[in-house]
Symmetry: C3
Subunit: 287 residues, 3 copies
C-alpha cells in the first residue's frame, strides 16, 4: 500500500482534503490513459490506410501476373488449335482486331474468326492438333499496365510464329497435286491488347494482333514476296461469311513495308510519348 | 478543479452521497475506456489477420518470381553445358522426365542424364562451352501457379532451341570424315514442371521436358525426317548405363505427329478443363 | 448499483476502511487497463514493423516489374529504330558496353552509339522504321534482382534477333550493284545490365549487351563465317568519331568461339558461384 501512502503524502503537501486530491490524481491518470488510447487508435487508422494501399498495390501485381498467365495460356491454346478454349478467354463483348478487320462479340465475331475460320482451315473442324500441321506461336516480351481501379488493363506482347504443313501431311500432298507449294510460313507480330476484370476474373476485351512480317518458308523474310495487304479494306460479314464486322481504322502495313503498332504506354523514364511525333500508321514507306 | 465541481453538482442533483456518486461516475468512465480499448484491440486482431493474408499473397508472388528465376537460370546453364550447376537445381528426390524416360534422384538419375550423358556427348566431359558447339535454349511463356500452402508449385514454359556443330568444329569434321552430316538441329518443346520449397529455397521436383518437334538444319521442320519416337519404350538403367530408371507413362508424340502436353491448370477464365475431352496423349495422328 | 454493494462487501471482508479499499480496487483496475493498453500499443508497433517489411518486399516486386517493363520497352524501341527514345531510358551517367567498347554518358557516348551510329546506318538518320529494313529484337528470359535498398538492380536477359534488308530495299539494291550481298543476319546474345532508381524512376545504368553468335542469312549459324572479333581492341573516340570511349576489359568471344557472360547471381539453389571456377572470359577455345 505504498502508493496509497504516497498519495496521502502528496495530497498533504497540496493542502487539499484527501478525497478531492485523490479524485484529481485519478483524473490525471484517466486522462493520460485516454490520450494514450486515442493515440493508439489514430495509429490504427493510419495502419489500416497503409494496409489498404499495400493491398491495392499487391492486387495490381497479382492482376499483372494473371494477365501474363492469361495471354500465355492463349498462346498455348493457339498452338494446338484449341479454338473453343481460346473463345472462352474473351469477355462477352470482346473483340479481335486482326488482319485489317474487327470481329465483335465473343459468341459472334470472335467465334466466327476462330471456330468458323481457323478451325475449319487448319484442322478441318476438329479441335486439337492434327498430323503434320505445326502452329508454334511463341509469346514473349510483356509490357503490362493495370489501371489504378484494377478493372481494366493494357498489355503489349510479341509473337514469333512458325506454322505450316509437313511434307508428309495431307494438306501438303494436296497442294503439290495442284502444283502449289504447301502452306508454310514464319511470322512476327505485335499484340496491343486490353483486358477487363469481371467478377474477379480477367478476360480479353480486345485482342489486337498485328502481324508485321511473313517469311516465305524456303527463302525467309529477306526474299519474301509481299504476302497480303491488310490495309486494304476486308470484305465484311455477312457478305463474307467468315469476314469481320468492320474494318480496322488504321491497320499497320506489312513487310517489306514497315510500321509501328502504337504503344499503350509512355516512355517509362520520361513519361512522354515517342519523340517521333509523326503518324505511326502511315509509316509504311512504299518506294 | 471545475470537473470536481461539476461532479459535485451532478451528484447533488442525483441526491446521492458524493463518494458513492463519484464511484458510479468512475465506473462509467472506466467501462467506456475499456470498451474503447477492447474495440481498438479487436481492430488490431483484424488488422493482424488482414496483414497475414496480404503477407501470404505477397509470398506467393515472390515464390512465382523465384520460380521464374530458377527456370530461367536453368536455361542459361543448359546453354553453356554447365551440367553440374543444373543438377544442383534439383531437390534430392528430384526427377527428369525426358524423351520417354524417367530419371530419378538428384545424385542418381538426374546426374546420370546430365553429367553422365549430355556432358560426355556435348563437351567430352569438360563443363562449360566448347569451340563450335551451339546450344541456345531459349526459355519463355511462363504460366506459374504456387500452391496455397506455398510448399509446391507447377509451371509451364516453352523452349525454342538451336543446337549443334559449326562446320569448323572437331565434331563436324569427324562427322564429315565418316560421310555423315554434322549434328545440328532446331527444336521446340514444352515444360510442365513441379517445384518444391525446402528450407525456404525453391528446387526442381520434376523437370518434365517434352520436345515436340525437331527440325533438320538444312531443310527445316517442313521437311524434317522423323527424328525419333519417344513413345517407344527406352532401354533402362542399368542395362543401359545412361538409360532412365523407368519409362514415361504416356510420352507425347513427336513431329510430324502432334500432341498436347497436358496443362497443369484449368482454363483461366472458365476454370474448367479443355473443352476437348479426348485423350491428349493419343493425339498423335499417324496417317 | 450491485457493483457498489459488492465492493462494500469485499472491503468489509478485508476489514479495511471503505475508501482505502475502493482506492486499492481502482488501482488494480487502472493498472490492468494500462497493461492492456500497453500490450495493444506494443502490438501496434509490431504491426507497423511487419507492415513496413511487407511494404518493402512489395516494393521489390514492383521494382522487378518496372525493370522488366523498362527492358521490354527498350526492345520494342530498338525494333523500330526509335533511338532517341532508347537514349532517354538511360541515367545521365549511363553506359553501353557493346561489341568490345564502352560508351559513356547518356548525352555523350550513349547518344553517339545510337543516334550517331545506328540511326545513320540503319535509316539514314530518320527516326522510325524504313521500308525493307527488319530489326526484330526479341527479348526474353529475365533474371532480375533488386538490391535490398531498392536503389539499384541487376538483370540478365536474352536477345534473339533477325535483322537486315529485304531484297527490294534500297540498301539491298545498292549492295547488289556493288557485287555484295545485302546485309542480313540472325543473332543471339546476352544482356547483363545494371539499373538505378532516381527520383522513383528506374533507368538503365549499364546496358551490357554481348552478342554471342551471328548467323549468315543464307547458311545459318552452322556455316557462318567468323563475323568479327570483339576481343580485338576497338578504335576509340574521338579518333573514331563513332567509337567507344574505352575498350571493354574482357569482352566475350564470338561464335564459333564460345564464352560465358558472367552471371550477376549465384546458383539460386546452392547460393554458390558456378562449380566451374575457371576464367569464363577466356573460354573461347580456338582450335
Amino acid at each position: 500500500m505504498n502508493a496509497i501512502k504516497s498519495v496521502s503524502a502528496f495530497c498533504h503537501s497540496l493542502r487539499k482534503p484527501k478525497s478531492e486530491c485523490r479524485f484529481f490524481l485519478w483524473s490525471v491518470m484517466i486522462a493520460l490513459s485516454l490520450m494514450f488510447i486515442v493515440t493508439t487508435s489514430c495509429s490504427n487508422a493510419e495502419l489500416e490506410e497503409k494496409l489498404e494501399q499495400v493491398t491495392n498495390r499487391l492486387g495490381i501485381l497479382e492482376d499483372t501476373q494473371d494477365i501474363r498467365n492469361l495471354h500465355h495460356a492463349y498462346g498455348y491454346y493457339i498452338d494446338k488449335c484449341l479454338y473453343e478454349d481460346v473463345v472462352d478467354l474473351f469477355a462477352d463483348d470482346g473483340e479481335v482486331h486482326f488482319a485489317g478487320g474487327i470481329y465483335r462479340g465473343k459468341e459472334e465475331g470472335v467465334r466466327r474468326l476462330y471456330v468458323g475460320g481457323f478451325l475449319q482451315d487448319f484442322t478441318g473442324g476438329k479441335p486439337g492438333p492434327v498430323y503434320g500441321f505445326l502452329l508454334d506461336h511463341l509469346q514473349m516480351q510483356d509490357v503490362i499496365h493495370v489501371a489504378p481501379d484494377r478493372r481494366t488493363a493494357k498489355a503489349r506482347f510479341r509473337c514469333f510464329m512458325q506454322a505450316g504443313a509437313h511434307e508428309t501431311s495431307p494438306s501438303a500432298k494436296a497442294a503439290r497435286e495442284q502444283g502449289q507449294s504447301p502452306m508454310r510460313w514464319w511470322e512476327g507480330g505485335i499484340y496491343e491488347n486490353t483486358y477487363v476484370k469481371e467478377d474477379g476474373v480477367w478476360k480479353i476485351q480486345v485482342l489486337n494482333y498485328n502481324p508485321l512480317w511473313y517469311a516465305d518458308y524456303e527463302t525467309g523474310w529477306g526474299n519474301t514476296r509481299p504476302f497480303f495487304d491488310q490495309t486494304e479494306a476486308p470484305k465484311l460479314y455477312p457478305d463474307n461469311p467468315r469476314g469481320p464486322d468492320a474494318p480496322m481504322d488504321s491497320p499497320p502495313a506489312i513487310w517489306p513495308n514497315t510500321s509501328i503498332v502504337p504503344f499503350h504506354y509512355m516512355n517509362p523514364v520520361t513519361g512522354k510519348p515517342l519523340t517521333m511525333e509523326s503518324d505511326w500508321n502511315s509509316e509504311s514507306n512504299d518506294e
